[in-house]
């Protein structure tokens, strides 16, 4: 078995849910060297998160943003952590709800996702800037 690890960057996104499968895969061509294993993606921030969801209709990403904005309100009267802006504390909560990492099986050099699955970067800040991720692949190497 082998382990490959690389720090990657995702370009700045607007607040909302973004399909980033291609932007991620472009940066890890080494995936093709693994015949079976797991791809781990970890985001080194507490106000953005990673998820796996529908890769076709942009309305799904729009509705996800609408839902989470209603489910986790800004300026809740009981919030005490307010100094970094009204979008900051909701971002922390959304980050824990959605999670800082995803794990996807790797099979024959490719992510073994379902037909309709893609990788989401969930940007919870109004201006989150570039986001730093750590990609790790562990598994059996392809026989050459």
């Amino acid at each position: 078995m082998n382990c490959f690890q690389k720090e990657i960057v995702i370009s700045e996104k607007t607040r909302g849910f973004h399909l980033v499968t291609e932007e991620v895969l472009r940066q890890i061509p080494e995936l093709r060297n693994f015949s079976a294993g797991i791809f781990f993606l970890f985001i080194q921030h507490t106000s953005a998160s990673l998820s796996i969801n529908e890769n076709a209709d942009p309305d799904v990403r729009h509705d996800m943003e609408s839902y989470f904005n209603r489910s986790v309100p800004e300026n809740a009267p009981y919030f005490e952590h307010m100094t970094e802006g009204s979008d900051d504390m909701p971002s922390h909560i959304k980050s824990s709800l959605l999670g800082s990492s995803i794990s996807i099986p790797v099979t024959n050099g490719r992510l073994n996702l379902g037909t309709w699955q893609g990788i989401y970067l969930c940007e919870h800040r109004n201006r989150g800037g570039r986001r730093h991720l750590v990609a790790t692949i562990m598994g059996e190497r392809t026989h050459k």
Copy 2:
């Protein structure tokens, strides 16, 4: 270290939270070959999810379904993704809230779960059909 991977199928379930520990374990007898490692289970769908929760009282699964149906309503007036049925967009949201994968330690050939823990398949669609999963085990093999 070794990596074992297998695609498995979970039979069609009604909408709700289902304890599937046995249905999963039946399909991966290879687990017994690992002395220490991690068992990864991934669901290749965006309208069902995996979780770990209480394995004893069926009321817990009932209450989970009741909670998530109230927390993520159907026919929210702000939803735009409506063409696939009123249960579709809530299913995507629940899928991201609960997650597409679980990771469980493997110790001495068994899942090292707590006494009260089991694997849940969370079926969010009214008619989700059979669900496809990818099971991956990575770790040290048992000495024979």
Copy 3:
């Protein structure tokens, strides 16, 4: 590649969100032996959970507890699982929302967390007692 696994205990915490990065790291000095890999932490309970979030301002942890108590109410009229106390069913729901495990990249013998990230133990019971966790590290060993 190597796999290291150890069961650890986290001392009893009050209900709420607690930063436990140091309490965890103290118990796994073996982390320094891994040059690249993944650290898996799994909690063997269904009424407490693990998350990664902001490690600086205690108000964030306070607001997380306030939010989840409002988002997942006690004594909801539709709950059927009530025999173990009013804090029990909400604990199961919070446990599935936040998750039973976290995965963090390991790089050069250390957790490769972002500057502001720490490990949270989320205690959802009024009196949860000590919590049992399984730590697993898989990856390449440091060359000595």
